[in-house]
């Protein structure tokens, strides 16, 4: 038909229109964003809203329908919270109990911004409830410790092992309290709880702490032994080095690595304990002892002093060819640097 547009031409025109529309939307949207940014930077935010706006906000924050509604609800929750709306507590409670993880998660984050006691209590309730990742509530509670320490102690006697675990974990940030309760928890039937209690004891001192941590070196669960090694590195002294040196032969790599870290933390004081381990029948123990002696500077110290050639050789034999090579490279580099310093080059 004369004057009609072919389907191909129509499709071409539609494609051009689609490109032009999205392109215009992109540029205009961005310009609008820049304008809003400039405007909001120059205008103070109204703390109190007009009644109509307030009602609308509360309605939005109460419930949602659909994906878009959910994000509007979250935005409204944040606004009513920041504007200290009288109904914010009830709205946040409903949000916490919402089945949608995004809404509940946002409520936890918003509660984290509120310093009031009731917000802490709601976060503790959220930690007890198993509806969303407990780590989220714990992260917000962590920001309030040690101020909320006494309330965290209550979590240690909860019947739910996960709550006891989080209680012990959070109490690591409150080193002044709950020493006795945490020591008691190191014999909890749940390995996760024992691990958390042991870790928390690493930040404490006083009677019974060291013994309780040392006792966990023999725990059946490998990750409890890991925490025991780390904690002993913090609360122990070089007197604990023999016990930690014994962990260098643990079948689990993680435990051996934690034992090495703990031994390193005592510095050169552990050298006397580690030297006999160089002749151990267990290859892990020999390697571990040599590695720690290298890391604390004992091996390089022997090279520098020019004495104890036999002892240095024992370490290098226990550490293997690679340790010999790296030690020689470091010694050469040090020697070159010394010569450079002397000659001023």
């Amino acid at each position: 038909m004369e004057g009609s547009v072919s389907p191909l031409t129509a499709a071409f025109a539609a494609a051009v229109l689609a490109w032009a529309s999205v392109a215009t939307l992109t540029v205009v949207g961005r310009l609008g964003f820049e304008r809003r940014r400039r405007f909001s930077a120059s205008q103070p935010v109204a703390l109190r809203s007009a009644p109509a706006r307030s009602r609308r906000l509360v309605a939005r924050a109460e419930r949602h329908r659909g994906e878009a509604g959910k994000w509007k609800r979250i935005a409204a929750l944040r606004t009513v919270s920041r504007e200290r709306h009288p109904r914010r507590r009830a709205l946040l409670r409903w949000a916490l109990e919402d089945r949608d993880r995004d809404v509940a998660g946002a409520a936890i984050r918003i509660l984290g911004e509120i310093d009031d006691d009731w917000a802490t209590e709601m976060l503790l309730e959220a930690l007890r409830a198993n509806r969303y990742p407990r780590a989220l509530a714990a992260g917000q509670l962590e920001r309030r410790s040690p101020a909320i320490g006494p309330r965290l102690v209550q979590l240690l006697s909860d019947t739910d092992a996960a709550v006891r675990f989080w209680g012990a974990t959070l109490l690591a940030g409150c080193p002044e309290i709950a020493r006795g309760e945490l020591i008691a928890l190191t014999t909890d039937p749940e390995a996760n709880v024992r691990a958390a209690a042991t870790e928390a004891l690493g930040a404490r001192s006083g009677r019974g702490v060291r013994d309780a941590v040392r006792a966990r070196l023999g725990d059946d669960a490998w990750f409890v032994r890991v925490h025991a090694c780390r904690a002993l590195g913090q609360v122990g002294s070089p007197d604990d080095a023999p016990a930690l040196a014994g962990m260098l032969g643990d079948p689990w790599w993680w435990v051996r690595a934690a034992a090495k870290d703990a031994l390193r933390s005592f510095g050169l004081n552990v050298a006397g304990v580690l030297v006999p381990q160089l002749d151990s029948d267990d290859g892990f123990v020999r390697n571990g002892a040599a590695e720690v002696l290298q890391d604390i500077g004992f091996l390089d110290g022997l090279a520098r002093s020019g004495k104890e050639g036999v002892l240095r050789e024992r370490i290098l034999v226990a550490g293997g060819d690679d340790m010999r090579r790296t030690a020689e490279t470091r010694a050469d580099a040090e020697e070159s640097a010394r010569i450079d310093r002397r000659t001023g080059s």
Partner: protein
């Protein structure tokens, strides 16, 4: 049936193929926009401040594989050490570089060799030495015999200490919040989220680009580089975000791939038998988890986590893209049992078929389309105006998708200047004529090399950069 008849039908088949793939891309772009909007809103309510300071933010071992990266390595490692993240380590693996990569690292980070008794979870080429930095305790450098990127990452995996690992490329400069953004969803759901990748941009000099402030960052004025930038935007915003939404994220990109470490250990680490390691690993993890009917998520996020170095010549680009084509072909062929297999859920029913149609078969259909359309016009099967309109239709239809990716990126990051956005939008319709032919050639070459079972890397030389101050 006459030859002209065959030609006519060949053109029809090719146009149908192009229409089918276009519809698929259009669907993905719409879903990608939706996913982008959700992530944007999620990110807006995320408490990054707490995440950055919390003991409960899961520690990460960042593993960087480097081969002949003397010009790029320092900027990359510095950007990693400057990450705003509570607990992490950086394990750099020098994969037997023949240039001065190791010397540059030793002098810039004050390295000294030490012996570390690590695990041997995955077999690798022998290590030559392990270095610790005297100035930066979070940095570990492994020097090893050359064994390819997968082997280097496996060496890093053996040495990594934390529960999550993040494989990165040595030619990429990262944003300070890269790890925080990448780990955001992992922290919320570590039991299910086993893999994460995120959006990266491209530049000739990533360090200079990343130094520019948000909102005033420039896009390369050279169309050749700008088109690569557009290509990345399309790949992330139009495709990968949608794959992520549909649970078939098939490529945790090598430049930024977070994995739960036990997952990598369970599947045996990175595979050396493929041209590249990233796509194959993602396929393998999907295959293992779906076969064993486990709940898991591999996600792609729209947050811009860094800028990677793009090739500055056609030859380098072809070398890079033919390698990408090969690894896609290799992975689809290797995991062909997943194709249309309901046991593999959306990965088998949508993801692998999508790769087959849009990537593996694309070079064949593209060449066939060009040749048959040209022949059809020459022989008078179609009028030249039909030919021109068809080309125009394809160009603008693709440009609309590109514009949608630019829009999504701008909504997400607001990082580029408005004139640069306009520049990208204007370039989009010419993509078919100025950039696609290069990709077409690269993909053909990749397909040919795949058929010849060539597994070479053919690494392109790094671009010349300004001397760091």
């Amino acid at each position: 049936m006459s030859a002209l008849h065959v030609l006519h039908w060949t053109v029809v088949v090719c146009i149908s193929y192009l229409a089918l793939t276009y519809l698929l891309y259009l669907l993905l772009a719409v879903v990608g926009l939706f996913e982008n909007a959700i992530r944007l809103r999620e990110s807006a309510v995320e408490d990054y401040e707490t995440l950055a300071a919390s003991r409960f933010t899961i520690p990460v071992s960042v593993m960087l594989a480097a081969y002949n990266e003397e010009s790029a390595i320092t900027a990359s490692v510095r950007s990693l050490l400057a990450l705003d993240y509570p607990e992490f380590e950086v394990v750099v693996v020098n994969d037997g570089s023949r240039d001065d990569t190791l010397r540059v690292l030793r002098s810039n980070f004050d390295l000294a060799p030490f012996t570390i008794f690590s695990r041997r979870i995955v077999q690798t080429e022998p290590l030559r030495a392990v270095y610790r930095s005297r100035t930066e305790p979070r940095l570990l450098v492994i020097d090893k015999e050359n064994g390819g990127k997968a082997d280097a990452l496996n060496a890093g995996l053996n040495m990594a200490r934390y529960r999550y690992v993040c494989g990165v490329d040595a030619d990429t400069v990262f944003a300070p919040d890269a790890l925080l953004k990448g780990m955001r969803l992992v922290v919320s759901d570590p039991a299910r989220v086993i893999g994460v990748t995120s959006h990266l941009t491209i530049a000739l000099d990533p360090e200079a680009t990343m130094a520019e402030p948000i909102g005033r960052r420039r896009v390369a004025s050279r169309p050749f580089v700008a088109y690569q930038h557009l290509d990345y935007l399309r790949a992330f915003f139009n495709n990968r975000l949608a794959w992520s939404r549909f649970h078939f994220m098939l490529c945790a990109v090598g430049a930024f791939q977070i994995w739960r470490r036990d997952v990598l250990e369970e599947v045996g680490g990175y595979a050396r038998g493929f041209t590249c390691e990233d796509i194959e690993l993602t396929f393998r993890v999907h295959e293992r988890y779906l076969r064993r009917r486990r709940e898991y998520r591999i996600l792609c996020l729209p947050d811009n986590v860094g800028t990677t170095e793009g090739p500055d010549t056609v030859r380098k680009l072809v070398s890079q893209r033919e390698r990408w084509q090969r690894v896609i072909d290799e992975s689809v062929w290797h995991y062909r049992r997943m194709l249309f297999n309901p046991r593999y859920r959306t990965v088998g029913l949508l993801g692998v078929p999508f790769y087959l149609v849009s990537e593996v078969l694309a070079p064949i259909f593209e060449v066939l389309a060009v040749l048959s359309l040209a022949a059809a016009v020459a022989l008078g099967v179609f009028h030249w105006t039909t030919f021109a309109l068809t080309l125009g239709l394809i160009a603008f239809a693709n440009a609309a998708l590109t514009a949608s990716a630019i829009l999504a990126d701008d909504l997400q990051s607001r990082v580029y200047r408005v004139p640069d956005l306009a520049w990208l939008l204007l370039l989009a319709p010419l993509d078919l004529f100025l950039y696609r032919p290069i990709l077409m050639w690269a993909r053909l070459k990749g397909t040919w090399r795949f058929l010849r079972q060539d597994k070479g890397w053919y690494k392109f030389e790094r671009n010349a950069r300004a001397t760091p101050t």
